[in-house]
């Protein structure tokens, strides 16, 4: 159980031949994630960590029926990589790539909504359902199977909280990094909806950031919906708000 990914998730890696892609593919395999194949244009026929590499996502469908993809493709090409996953109806698409232009993110997220698939990120450390599956770049040693749903805009702060939970003998049902960009796919409210229906999750920790109004709208949602599980939120606001020279683009 947990949300988005579990032991049955069948994943491919887009951008598997790159430095980050190949490095993290190995770590995800070591964790026991069912990574079945990789995609890298022009590298079809290669093998990476025992996995077959294809030129396109389409070629992986017949033999592997993937339902998730994790994307490490560089920012200039990332838009097409995500659209390719969407067109091939991959259900859960985790976009690790950072520095994707906002226009590209908005475009792929609109396409994903139409195709009814989920985009997580961009600029996310990914998702981990401890003990079952990891589609991400987070250090695994701090995550423990447990009952806390963890959803965060910040990668390292999620690690900090996971390490804290572990020290108290707790663990996570699933930890989702929604991504640090101004525009991301899955948001806090959608993550809360998923955790609501997950039997394993008993409480949720939200880690917000400054910029935008997602935290305020999520608080409204929790109150209005009388959200069924306890939610604890952390929001480092920093005196940075007041500091010289710091301009956050508020929306």
């Amino acid at each position: 159980m947990g949300i988005l990914i579990d032991s049955k998730t069948r994943a491919i890696v887009q951008g598997i031949t790159g430095k980050q892609g190949s490095y993290h593919t190995k770590l995800m395999l070591d964790y026991g994630a069912k990574i079945l194949a990789g995609v890298s244009p022009g590298k079809g026929g290669m093998t990476i960590d025992g996995l077959p590499v294809f030129d396109t996502v389409k070629e992986t469908l017949d033999s592997y029926s993937p339902n998730a993809s994790i994307i490490f493709v560089p920012a200039n090409f990332a838009q097409d990589a995500v659209l390719e996953a969407i067109e091939n109806k991959i259900k859960t698409i985790v976009v690790i790539t950072e520095h994707i232009p906002i226009r590209d993110s908005i475009n792929v997220i609109a396409n994903a909504a139409q195709a009814q698939v989920s985009v997580i990120g961009p600029n996310t450390p990914g998702i981990i359902t401890p003990g079952e599956c990891k589609l991400g770049i987070m250090p695994t040693s701090i995550f423990t199977p447990g009952n806390v749903g963890l959803v965060s805009r910040s990668g390292t702060l999620a690690y900090e909280v996971a390490a804290g939970l572990r020290a108290k003998g707790l663990g996570e049902s699933t930890c989702v990094g929604v991504g640090g960009d101004p525009v991301v796919g899955l948001n806090f409210i959608e993550a809360l909806e998923l955790f609501k229906d997950d039997a394993k999750t008993k409480a949720v920790v939200l880690i917000g950031e400054i910029g935008g109004n997602m935290e305020e709208l999520t608080a409204q949602y929790i109150v209005q919906e009388r959200y069924a599980k306890p939610v604890v939120a952390m929001l480092p606001v920093a005196l940075l708000h007041l500091a010289n020279g710091w301009v956050m683009q508020e929306q």
């Binding site: 520095h99 908005i106 475009n107 250090p139 990668g155 935008g212 940075l240 500091a243």
Partner: protein
């Protein structure tokens, strides 16, 4: 993280290329110029310092001039001075428009709807944030369908909300569509005409404009590439070149960490323990020893810095790389400054070993490290 502003004249020239009317004017870049183009402009004039900041009017950056002589005086007065900490290198002289009404037109990113939003108001001429705060009903928000963009019928609806009809309605709607086109094609995060003036004769002219470009989209816009560094200090430019997010603050404890959220929490924690951060420096994910060395150098070179707090929780970032970077930076540092280091995560053992061998103690909790950095800053010896 670095916002790329086009200043007024650049923004207006861009709008003009998209067919949006702007006032007749001349740009003065040379202090000694005798303003040759001025004879082509009809007085009265408005003389405006070209700096990348709003609120110039309140700080003396905009001067009205009734005659060519007064315009010349205004240029002399503005050129070479500092306004809102920006040196004035260019001044724009424009014909003053006969104003009937001032409107606001803009597009920006709508984070929550994961799209764009058109912002319009009949109360132009003021900062839109102030209008939204004091009279929220005066700002009309129209969410844009990103797959459709702004079509003629969308633009007509927006123009209608501003209270126009007939020929003016169509004229205004065309400006709205062109403004969206300029916004989209240039990968802007924000574009605004403020004010858009309705003149006595009923036509519309963009009296002031601001555009912010998404710096992540520069690979599609080489024309803006050079702008990226021109407004930055040496340290900021060095940080940008190495993909470091750096903001200088005014305290005495240097802060280096990985991930914006963690660095913010670190800054909060320092503040909690009574320390004053000298900067915000996020090394990002997966930084190499070389990049970490540059990060430390930027922080150590700041003369206000008395101690440095390094807070790394390695995921994609490897602790051994961080440790090597720290050692390299210390070796080359001009001045010895005490370091409080919290280092856990990927390759933690190796990282700690490298630092301990070099005589630097390492802590496991960020609370302890923050306390130590504060103690070092007030003179306690490591």
């Amino acid at each position: 993280m670095i916002s790329l502003y086009l200043i007024e004249n650049e923004a207006k020239q861009l709008l003009l290329r998209y067919g949006i009317p702007i006032p007749k004017g001349i740009l003065i870049s040379n202090y000694k110029e005798t303003l040759p183009g001025l004879s082509n402009l009809k007085p009265p004039y408005i003389v405006k310092a070209q700096i990348p900041a709003g609120g110039r009017g309140k700080t003396g950056g905009i001067i009205s001039a009734m005659s060519p002589h007064e315009a010349q005086e205004a240029v002399t007065q503005l050129m070479g001075t500092q306004i809102m900490n920006f040196p004035v290198k260019q001044v724009l002289i424009e014909e003053k428009l006969p104003v009937k009404k001032e409107l606001y037109l803009g597009f920006t990113v709508d984070r929550f709807n994961r799209s764009y939003v058109a912002l319009t108001s009949k109360m132009g001429g003021m900062e839109i944030e102030d209008v939204a705060e004091k009279t929220p009903q005066a700002v009309v928000r129209t969410t844009v369908d990103p797959q459709l963009g702004i079509r003629s019928f969308h633009a007509l609806s927006i123009a209608k909300q501003l209270g126009y009809r007939g020929g003016q309605l169509v004229e205004l709607s065309i400006i709205i569509q062109k403004l969206y086109q300029a916004f989209a094609e240039n990968d802007a995060e924000m574009i605004e005409i403020n004010p858009l003036i309705e003149t006595d004769s009923g036509s519309f002219v963009a009296a002031d404009a601001k555009i912010v470009i998404d710096d992540n989209a520069l690979f599609r816009h080489p024309e803006y590439k050079a702008k990226e560094t021109q407004m930055l200090s040496v340290q900021e430019a060095l940080a940008l070149k190495n993909n470091l997010a750096y903001v200088k603050l005014d305290g005495d404890i240097g802060v280096v960490g990985n991930g914006a959220g963690l660095v913010m929490a670190t800054v909060d924690l320092l503040n909690f323990f009574g320390g004053k951060p000298a900067d915000f420096l996020d090394i990002g994910g997966g930084a190499s020893a070389d990049v970490i060395k540059v990060a430390l150098k930027i922080v150590l070179d700041n003369p206000s810095v008395k101690s440095v707090l390094v807070n790394v929780l390695g995921g994609i970032t490897r602790c051994d790389e961080v440790a090597r970077g720290i050692i390299d930076a210390i070796k080359e540092a001009k001045e010895k400054k005490p370091l409080a280091v919290r280092l856990v995560g990927t390759n933690e053992k190796e990282g700690k070993r490298i630092l301990i061998d070099a005589g630097i103690s390492v802590l496991d909790s960020m609370e302890e490290a923050a306390k130590q950095a504060v103690a070092f800053a007030v003179g306690e010896k490591p």
